[in-house]
Amino acid sequence: MDIRSQISMVFHLDKCIGCHTCSIACKNIWTDRKGAEYMWWNNVETKPGTGYPGKWENQDIYKGGWEVTDDGIQLKGAGKPKSLTNIFHNPHMPVIDDYYEPFTYKYLDLIESPAGDDQPTARPISMITGEPMDIKMGPNWDDDLSGSPDYARNDPNLEKLSPAEKEAMFQLERMAFFYLPRICNHCLNPACVASCPSGAIYKRGEDGIVLINQEVCRGWRMCVTACPYKKTYYNWSTGKSEKCILCYPRLEAGEAPACMHSCVGRIRYLGVLLYDADQIESVASAPETDVVNRQLDMILDPFDPDVIASAKSNGVADSTIDAAQKSPAYKFVKEWNLALPLHPEFRTLPMLFYVPPLLPVMASVTKVDNKEQSEKMHPVGKYWPDSWLYDTSTEELFGTIDEARFPLQYMANLFSAGDTAQVGDRLKKLMAVRLHRRQVTVGDVSEKMVKSALDDTGLTPQSADDIYYLTSLAHFNDRFVIPAAHREQAIEMMEFAGDVKGSTGFGFKTGTAKRGA
């Protein structure tokens, strides 16, 4: 066993309202710079949709992630032989138009234009060339556009769906969408690290944050190709690649990352997971639908004395083990088994987990006679010729999950490499918690029905209440359990702190300020 600690994230998609506050917080702190304008280390996508950069999930285009070959897993678009032969021109690089050309507006024209017959306008200006431009695309151009032919219907996750399933998704009455906020997954088997010809990318030992050393990066951009989530970006001004740093300066000060701190829906959770690094290669090479379960098996119980002893012998700090025991990520991912990684089939073993969205999926459409209702209304007022009833109540326990507006297959393509059983399990648990809470707060659901729902999903009323608490009531310190970074120890490894003892603080004034005229 080689126990290491990883700061892991859980995003609860049922709670995401798609406000992009996370993206803006991140942009204002980290990517509001020349050369980084087009980067969104945090972005929020509408699903179904093509995302940012366009169709990033389609690795036939972008060649990201790992693939299984005869010699184990290999990078799809990078790696030693491929990188060496393509080092002066990486043939699978996304272009700026795959993202979007960043723009601003010439606001000064609004107040500085001379008087004229027309209102002045603020023309859009490219933030790359500085010239006036036509805005063609944005980082969330398909926001809320479910059913659109260019975006929703081009979602790469629809590929394995039957034509009937696809059509069902986009029927007017059934149409739905949800939001998928994305940051760097800080993977256990990061393709970006493996692809870097300069060795500039590394996974931090103490917390597993994946970072690009800006002083070592030579701008080969193999990581841009290799990352299947397209979460490393090339800065055209500095000539180096950049990526989400999980706000490590904030983490080291005990603060939550900016995107998580600012999250309006409080969908984001952050905590330590202990995992066995010896298994990384075998798990990443496992058959596609096994990868998720094997990855979850790698994550170990922080209360197990063997695990604790092994972690300590590996240099994991007591404070980190303590944080792992309180970790909301451990509860969602392991204890309740509610969260799944995004696209495990890319085999990078992402450590950002998603609680799949249940969505307001329960609905049946029946023909009813609205004549009586319509007659009551004033003719000038509302007249409702539609005779369809959109019914969100159901008799059957989990029937609606199988008949969800989103086919389970679609969710499975996103979160479990196409295995509907794994996503179905999580959704049923969410449903059972809802039924349980309905019974507690409203009481119009039969006790027997709730019991059978909880039993079916392996939950107890206690654990259902715990899930409810962490989902809906959790405080800041429940959602973010940040281990002490122990920077003082890191500093002491480099220099002797006693050297500066007694040389800072009061008493070093060089002179007294002159007073008077």
């Binding site: 093509t50 950069p53 366009g54 169709k55 285009i61 972008y62 393509n86 021109h89 043939p91 699978h92 690089m93 996304p94 272009v95 138009d97 795959d98 036509d134 063609k136 695309m137 260019d150």
Partner: protein, 281 residues
């Protein structure tokens, strides 16, 4: 600011106090050693130009002075003496920008009125030089092409000159072609020109970067060999074929690249969307 302007003033002063004022104080002999000896002897021997023994008796004093100061003008005019000399010696004498005072000093040195009697005696016959060794010739070949740099950092010969020689590929065309220079000017002439160039451009190029004696000997050896063996050396001239081959090679290479990288990503995934968008211009 004041410091800067003082520096600039000093620089200008030191520039203006440079060579011209120094030359004004030079004797005729010094000027001769500096500027004339490359091509002229003080006896009757021909070097590049004619030997200058008794020149002041052969020629009119005013003519000599004019020729020393502005040879280009005299040669350009319809002066019959000058035309005859050019026909005989082939190399037109360059204009050295010699001042009136310097010309007087030179004429005095050459025996044109007082103090020049010893002129004939000081003239030394050029040394008999041993033929260059094989190593020297090879060194000269490398020096000519710049494969070995000159010790004092002077520019390589083939920047401006060309020689027909198998070892030399594409010399310069800015200055004279030097294949037959040895038979035209003779060993002493070539050596003198390389050692202290009489031509203004060459003078400027090698200002403070004079060639060492070994380098001069090596270059002379090389030029002598090039001259002697010119019939044996026939570097091929590919003419238009070289250009055509270059273009064909480029086309083949580009074709190969597009074949090897045929699966590369081309264009944007959003191109079909962009194509339908209305553009403002």
């Amino acid at each position: 600011m004041r410091f800067l302007s003082q520096c600039a003033g000093l620089a200008i002063l030191s520039l203006s106090a440079g060579p011209p004022s120094l030359m004004a104080q030079q004797s005729g002999e010094e000027i001769f050693q500096q500027k004339c000896v490359a091509c002229h002897t003080l006896n009757a021997d021909r070097l590049v130009g004619p030997g200058l023994a008794g020149v002041m008796t052969r020629r009119d004093r005013a003519w000599v002075k004019r020729f020393i100061m502005r040879p280009d003008l005299v040669l350009g005019s319809e002066d019959s003496i000058a035309a005859g000399l050019l026909e005989e010696y082939l190399v037109p004498m360059p204009n050295f920008g010699i001042t009136d005072a310097e010309a007087e000093a030179l004429i005095a040195f050459l025996g044109g009125g007082g103090g020049g009697a010893a002129a004939g005696e000081t003239a030394a016959a050029p040394d008999v030089v041993e033929p260059a060794t094989e190593e020297q010739i090879l060194l000269g070949q490398d020096l000519f092409q710049g494969k070995i740099r000159f010790t004092n950092g002077g520019p390589t010969c083939n920047s401006c000159h060309d020689v027909i020689h198998d070892a030399v590929i594409g010399g310069g065309v800015l200055a004279a072609e030097l294949t037959t220079v040895f038979s035209r000017l003779g060993g002493p002439g070539v050596r003198a020109i390389i050692g202290s160039p009489p031509f203004p451009v060459m003078q400027r190029a090698y200002l403070n970067k004079a060639l060492t004696d070994e380098e001069v000997a090596a270059l002379v050896g090389f030029l002598q060999q090039a001259d002697a063996e010119q019939a044996l050396h026939q570097p091929r001239d590919y003419g238009i074929k070289l250009f055509v081959a270059g273009v064909a090679g480029t086309v083949i290479l580009l074709g190969l690249y597009s074949l090897v990288w045929r699966r590369r990503t081309t264009g944007s995934v959003n191109q079909s969307i962009y194509d339908r968008q209305i553009k403002s211009t």
